[in-house]
Symmetry: D2
Subunit: 344 residues, 4 copies
């Protein structure tokens, strides 16, 4: 049994990691730390985990136990892992950061997006972007993985094979919608049921941090700079992301070519589903699972429409992190991964 540490598991990403790690047959949770909740039991924060075996208690972040782990997850705010993970990395411990610290191969793009100076550029240069369907081999050998953002995961999976095949122009529009769990477990008035249920609106339409992350990935697959217009919206529901993508197809490429390219790229992927013509993937079709489902449409020649859905907390965060962990630890990639959605 591999020994796992979890730093900062008090948000929804943390509780999803716990849900999956506690059922995982190949690992055990050695320690769980939280600056704000140290000394509290997991079930005092997450009563719904009551009754499933040993009581976990949040330790101080300074806990020595982290040093005895094989792999440590950082489910912390941005700019924590790039400081606190370094001593662990230097001891040879593997690290997966679920924030944005290690998602950009170019620290200048990171700095332009998140501000300040990157604290660990050398480690950043060794980090792998944790999207297994696209970087599986590199993740297998990685000591440090930057787990992708939820919107970038939903957007990059359908687009990477098409950009790699040089099928699309460089100007891409991403209209994204996310359930409210994407905003985290935060005491914010604008998120309470009386404000945010039975309601819908865009946010960050002048620019959102996931825009540069998406552009960074897409440009990598395209080989040219991709200009991404990215507008997220808040859905009156809990889980699920849908992105509708608008792109121009290059001359000579047909929608059937696009669909074929996606089928080929993901032929061996058990959790990537290219839905049939005329079918529209629904967020509940991936609720609670690590699956991504993608639809392909066209209204005018040359104009491609894609719709991609994931569960923002699973494939968009914790499930993908466990998939990365399995690869990094040499375990079966799908061990402990929630495959099947919970619907209705």
């Amino acid at each position: 049994m591999k020994k796992i540490g979890l730093v900062g598991g008090t948000g929804y990403t943390g509780v999803e990691l716990l849900r999956m790690l506690q059922d995982h047959p190949g690992v055990e949770i050695l320690t769980l730390t939280s600056r704000s909740e140290a000394g509290k039991s997991v079930t005092s924060l997450y009563p719904w985990l009551t009754g499933y075996g040993a009581e976990l208690v949040f330790a101080e972040p300074s806990s020595n136990a982290l040093a005895n782990c094989d792999l440590v997850f950082f489910a912390t705010p941005n700019k924590i892992a790039m400081e606190e993970a370094i001593p662990l990395l230097e001891r040879g411990i593997q690290v997966i950061d679920l924030a944005a610290d290690f998602r950009f191969s170019d620290t200048d793009v990171w700095a332009a997006t998140y501000g300040g100076r990157h604290a660990a550029p050398t480690w950043n240069a060794r980090a792998v972007y944790g999207l297994p369907e696209l970087y599986r081999d590199a993740i297998r050998g990685a000591q440090l993985v930057g787990n992708p953002g939820c919107y970038p995961t939903a957007t990059t999976l359908p687009l990477a094979p098409l950009l790699k095949a040089n099928m699309l122009s460089t100007d891409i529009i991403v209209d994204a919608k996310s359930g409210a769990s994407g905003a985290g477990r935060s005491a914010r008035v604008d998120l309470i049921v009386a404000e945010a249920s039975d309601n819908f609106h865009a946010y960050g339409a002048d620019g959102h941090r996931h825009g540069p992350e998406i552009a960074h990935q897409l440009s990598r697959w395209s080989g040219q700079p991709i200009e991404v217009t990215f507008v997220p919206h808040l859905l009156p529901m809990i889980r699920g992301i849908e992105v509708t993508i608008y792109a121009s197809i290059k001359g000579g490429t047909t929608i059937d070519d696009v669909r074929q390219a996606l089928h080929e790229a993901y032929a061996d992927e058990p959790l990537i589903d290219i839905v049939g013509p005329g079918i529209h993937p629904e967020t509940r079709w991936v609720r609670g699972s690590n699956c991504c489902r993608i639809g392909v449409y066209q209204q005018h020649p040359g104009r491609l429409i894609l719709s991609s859905v994931i569960d923002n907390l699973v494939k968009g965060a914790a499930g993908q992190a466990i998939q990365n962990m399995n690869l990094m630890l040499g375990l079966d990639e799908w061990m402990g991964i929630p495959m099947r959605p919970l619907a209705p």
Copy 2:
């Protein structure tokens, strides 16, 4: 045009008062005060009010403008009005408190429920409980009205005529459910969409402040002490209260007698609807309106079931307050009152 002041209109009760007062043909808003939001415009807090005429700005609570009002609403937390309304009352200004300060004719019951000592027992003795269908004449002549709580309104309307007619035993169970707007405009984690939508639970099952208020009212109409078991629940929706009431019918009384008594009691009330046999009132049938709808059922002889629905922010708070205001100012009772629900 009567001059109206509003103290503390930053919560949902306040914004509902504004919605109704701005459309009301018989009054004008002279001033609006808020300790926390002084200097801010109403539309900076409530952008959905943008575009309807003059911009209102929250003044300091010390504002002299209150002294020039004919009537002042206190949409403040408990224990504010019993201090701050007194100088206004002493100048002869009429006051409606939407908190609990003036809801109990017996300040001992108030103290046992809310703690501490009542700051204005003399004025409390002159206060009228603002449930117009039951205390209309007293409200007409009142200088000070304690506006009822939302749960007590939904519960007292169906029960008062039956207790007055001596039809029920003294042990009454009230199972109540409220939309999340009843918890106010509060930045609380347990109210965010990711926690409170697609979810349901009881709260305060060991005792809730509206229990004594209900018992106080019911005992008044019964002439005997009524023991109320009151359990509220939080609904994953915005507006609406439903209470299901279980009571024992006294020997010789039939369910038809009960239905008849309700029809008679409310024959002249345009906004009290006794629904037909087999019909179950729905909260959306009163959404946004000042209406109360009541159903009557029976499964076993002697055991009465009532279901009553109101909009917690309208008949349960602001709409009822405007109804009281109209009576106190000698205006038509229904002026500016939202009559018709918004459905679907």
Copy 3:
């Protein structure tokens, strides 16, 4: 009092018309017809209207009463009004069709979109598109109005002034999202709470009937053919449409020019609100009201983003129809129009 008829008022558009007509000081409902529900009372279908005066009963569509009306609304499925409204029009009665029969000045575009042959091309040539902010004068003099679709209303209002000013290129993307009431009062499994709440998905991504209607209107304002890519999505909520529009700004035009053009175009419109920079309009800010709110954004030079919200049943259907009725009958345009949203 003008006499009003309503054909087919059994859907949500019908019940919204009733809500507004019953409170309207300038008109009275003379008759209400329904093929499927003839003989039933309005409140048997819409119990939430119980208790507000006289009981309306659905008459047979053959009812002579329609012939005595000043103006008749058709809240019927497509292709009914183009048959059944003609005898009324020939008697000089004014007609507003809430379906698509009279929305296209070019019946070929209509036929390509809805199939078959138009039954009343001559009357169609005299019909006016009922978007008052854009066609007010023509509506004032019209005998026949085609009331716009919900998505076209939300999309055309922000774009028309910009296309007229020649600020945009001819390729426009409209990513639209609608509450479930837009799908009507239909017994469909895919609309029940267990399927459609806590869920989100695109539909009609290969082509939806509102696409050609939008393109038809936009081309009219542009003077050139506009290619519209239109993808609607189903929101897990009741009321509200948000459209996010992506367009290219022509060289030399800035985002400030765009904002300025919208402010000027709608300076005198009480119910069109151009929200400030950085503000994102929310669907609840227009819930139950006839208002449209529009935001303007930019991420890259030359690429314009607009977000527009309306209530699909009010400005997107019944409210706009009443606004048209007021203009056609020579009444005050805002009489009986719900101005203020119901929020929270």
Copy 4:
């Protein structure tokens, strides 16, 4: 691997059985039948199951394959299993009926509740009520199990130990609330999002079929006839049942005695959780899991309040059926049972 048949798996109970059976390590699905959907694939009805191995297709109910099964589930409407399961039972095949045909030891009570004459009284006499925490040993030896209703499960679990210990009077009130999935996968107007979301109401307040089932069970545990007043309500959400129970405690019994009795009764049950004093169990704490959580409260001496939550489709239907299957087949009781809830 035991061979499993499923008759009528086209509703939500059926799809939940499929979700659990496909992941279950001890059984394989041999056949799946449906009268209405024969010839269709499972994924044409439930697209969210796409991508997880072999495609299942609904066979005709006359399929011989059922005769080769070890155990057959009937997820059919009432009165199907009591006809169609008999030939299978006579061949020695084990049967679990998820409808009400075999839930009543007394066929007269069944007939009074469901109408008509029971078609298989002899088999009914041998049937076991499938509530494992209360009838585990009998289920182990059973050939035929009547799987309990969702409301009766949530109600009987907290009450049975207290009635057995003679702690309660015979008059019990059950105020129950269920998510909309409890109404099944039905094309009903009253269940669509535009009608049933952001809404709440009672139904069946004059009598509901689960009332007699609850009374039947409670009387069995009490040894005396229990009078149950049972009022269900429809929640604007998908999954979850909460029941609030009001009962009188017999003289001398305290709330601590009650809590102690529940702790003792369920000390060895991994999926029954008696929550601590002052805690209120939430439906999301059991979402997707086979768990039942119970709270105990008191406001007045002698008056007991219980709150119990389950997932109506899991512990209230399919999960409980799998638990029964495991016991009947001699497998580990918890094999393939979803233990952990999906939250947020």
